[in-house]
């Protein structure tokens, strides 16, 4: 009984957490009309004219061409009045009227222009001269994810999204490499050497975690603009090579201290210098914590908005997060496009999460 309640709670929680994400995916795949459906619908659908295939259509035979074919004029259906050629075997006679069994035609897509509460809709068919007014139930609905929302979103800024993805990826990878190298080096220094002032320096390092970024934000901006580094990736990547992530240093140091010191000593006896001990002994043994630090740095850098917002000016240098901001300005109410673009930002992180 108690376990049942726990399962219900866990399941309800999972639903609540997932709904916004599923809603994003669902919105990104819907037509512009469908996203405003009331009540909301989850499955992206599109409408078609009622199916006219495999139904018998009344016709008058215009003339018989070289058997076994005939030219007939349609008396009903969406192609009313048109003259088409059919095989004679498709013609049947019933109640003194000739019918033709049409092969399944291309379904005619229908676009809902407006929808009224009682289920009536103004519908436009591509070839029809005017809009039709009919109950929605008269139309055929089918599962139709609008993949082109993604291609539309991808190309709707002056530069395509892979440009921004590549920028973000470059910055992120430089940060990951920089933090991994510098933080592990510093952590090694703190973990394995007993120099004077070590503990005080380490406390200083930890206390920088509590320093609000706003305090250094403005002087750093001034510094980068005086060195003409604004609108380059330098302000967003160079600091990473100086072990600016105190938390990463802390994690790595804790891990290094857990590794037996005898390893270092054995290597030292074999003539290994301190730098080689770090590179060849400690780092290979620290895979799990290096992955953790790498993933955390990746997430933080991929997510970063304030940095690119402050330091990047031209669109060609934008990361995905600031490009999304421009996107929002231009396509504010086109939610299916915005959700498609947001997914472009989300998906790489989720993929990384499942790999790591």
């Amino acid at each position: 009984m108690k376990r049942l309640i726990l399962y219900i709670l866990a399941f309800a929680g999972a639903v609540i957490f997932l709904v916004p994400l599923l809603w994003t995916v669902s919105t990104a795949l819907k037509t512009r009309q469908q996203i405003f459906d009331m009540p909301p619908t989850w499955i992206p659908i599109a409408y078609r004219a009622p199916d006219s295939s495999n139904t018998m259509q009344p016709v008058t035979v215009v003339r018989k061409i070289k058997p076994p074919a005939a030219e007939v004029s349609l008396l009903a259906g969406p192609q009313l009045g048109q003259t088409i050629a059919v095989e004679q075997s498709a013609l049947t006679i019933g109640n003194g009227q000739e019918y033709v069994k049409l092969r399944a035609p291309e379904p005619v897509p229908a676009r809902i222009i407006s929808l009224f509460p009682d289920g009536l809709a103004v519908v436009r068919f591509p070839d029809a001269p005017q809009n039709a007014f009919m109950p929605l139930t008269a139309l055929q609905s089918h599962f139709a994810p609008q993949w082109r929302n993604f291609s539309a979103a991808w190309n709707s800024l002056p530069l395509p999204f892979h440009w921004f993805l590549l920028n973000t990826y470059t910055i992120t990878m430089l940060n990951v490499i920089g933090q991994l190298l510098s933080c592990s080096l510093v952590a090694y220094g703190f973990a394995r050497f007993r120099f004077r002032g070590r503990n005080a320096l380490f406390m200083l390092l930890l206390s920088t975690m509590m320093l609000p970024a706003q305090v250094t934000m403005i002087p750093l901006f001034i510094m980068w603009s005086k060195t003409r580094a604004i609108d380059t990736f330098i302000p967003l990547t160079l600091p990473s090579f100086f072990a600016t992530s105190a938390f990463s240093v802390f994690l790595l140091r804790q891990f290094f201290m857990g590794l037996p010191k005898e390893l270092d000593e054995a290597a030292m006896i074999d003539g290994c210098g301190p730098l080689r001990i770090w590179w060849q002994i400690l780092l290979p043994l620290s895979r799990p914590v290096l992955i953790t630090v790498g993933v955390l740095t990746f997430l933080g850098s991929w997510d970063d908005f304030v940095g690119p917002l402050i330091y990047l000016d031209r669109l060609r240098n934008y990361t995905v997060s600031v490009a999304l901001r421009i996107f929002q300005d231009q396509y504010g109410s086109d939610y299916s496009l915005i959700m498609a673009a947001a997914l472009v930002h989300i998906v790489p992180v989720v993929i990384l999460f499942f790999i790591a």
């Binding site: 957490f17 009331m38 220094g189 509590m210 304030v306």
Partner: protein, 341 residues
């Protein structure tokens, strides 16, 4: 070249020169720095350089700038002018400080006051749930963790759409609920981000979506660190699940709660992206968070001096909060081993 220098026995501990007795001696005096330990400075040098260039230097510069009027072109010393303008001098009536500044402080306190405790409680409850022996735990954990992976800009865009007053998912659900024949009250769903009274609750609500993230993982690690003997003792004493939680689990994870609380408050006071993307501070400054106003001062109005003064006021506020927490922690944070026996 560098390698060669490193290969030379700095320590004097090549096998030939220094046989075992040297090791033994060093083991006996672990705290005495040897000559090899000077290498430590070299290894932490990147951080020291980084700290000086990217933290300490800018901090000093920031203090100086906060006492000037600086628009990236000309710098003019104004003494405590920026602080005075913000705290007591400016304002429509010629006094009482900057109206937006106080509004942003109020907004940020309001935001932190709800998002931090609610978030911590939520994270803790999720962690407790995931600490039970349920099947499919890893699936649940993944699902709870997923929202915290969503980048801030993307999740802001997502929530703008969910909180959209007319066709947003939340209001459609609420509308259905409120119009239900069995609903006791006939309420109308709020306009969320577009309403002065609801914009802050919207940001808080959105922040709660991420409670399954790193904070929950830290709680979970704390819970898993509690030894079985405590639960065993509680069971023998006849305590039910709620009393066990109240008197065993809760006291034992107070260090983790403390850690999450300190970092949570610091994080909440720096919240920026959501407000910037979702509301821009509106309507009527109701969601103007402190970090957003600071950004506007610095990069929209180019009042670098005032923005730096705001940064230092933020620093002081956070310092006071952190000190209060550290002081009060003696009363409510239990460290295992410290109060045993």
């Amino acid at each position: 070249m560098l390698d060669q220098t490193l290969e030379t026995p700095v320590t004097g501990l090549t096998p030939r020169a220094a046989p075992l007795p040297v090791w033994r001696r060093r083991k006996g005096r672990r705290n005495a720095p040897g000559p090899r330990d000077r290498w430590g400075y070299l290894f932490i040098a990147p951080w020291i350089a980084g700290f000086l260039i990217f933290t300490a230097g800018p901090m000093i510069a920031s203090i100086v700038i906060s006492f000037t009027d600086y628009d990236m072109k000309t710098m003019r010393p104004v003494g405590v002018g920026n602080y005075a303008d913000l705290i007591w001098r400016a304002g429509p009536a010629g006094g009482h400080g900057d109206e937006q500044f106080y509004k942003s402080i109020w907004n940020t306190f309001f935001y932190a006051l709800f998002s931090v405790p609610l978030g911590l409680t939520g994270s803790l409850l999720l962690a407790v749930l995931l600490n039970q022996k349920l099947k499919g735990l890893s699936i649940f954990r993944t699902i709870y963790y997923l929202p915290s992976l969503v980048p801030a800009v993307a999740s802001s865009l997502l929530w703008i759409w969910i909180l959209q007053p007319d066709s947003g998912l939340l209001n459609q659900a609420l509308g259905w609920l409120f119009r239900h024949p069995l609903a006791p009250l006939h309420l109308t769903p709020p306009a969320w981000l577009q309403n002065e009274n609801w914009s802050k609750p919207s940001l808080i609500l959105m922040s709660l979506w991420g409670i399954g993230g790193s904070r929950m993982i830290i709680f979970l690690a704390g819970l898993q660190g509690i030894g079985d003997q405590y639960y065993e003792a509680a069971r023998i004493d006849g305590a039910g699940p709620f009393r066990t939680f109240r008197h065993v689990t809760l006291p034992l994870i107070t260090p983790v709660i403390f850690f999450n609380l300190v970092l949570g408050i610091i994080g909440a006071f720096q919240a920026f992206t959501q407000a910037y993307i979702m509301t821009g501070g509106g309507p009527n400054n109701s969601s103007l968070l402190y970090a957003l106003l600071l950004y506007q001062f610095a990069f929209d109005r180019l009042q670098m001096g005032k923005a730096s003064a705001m940064a230092w006021i933020l620093f002081l506020i956070l310092l006071i909060f952190t000190l209060i927490q550290f002081n009060s922690s003696k009363k409510w944070v239990h460290y295992e081993g410290a109060d045993e026996g």
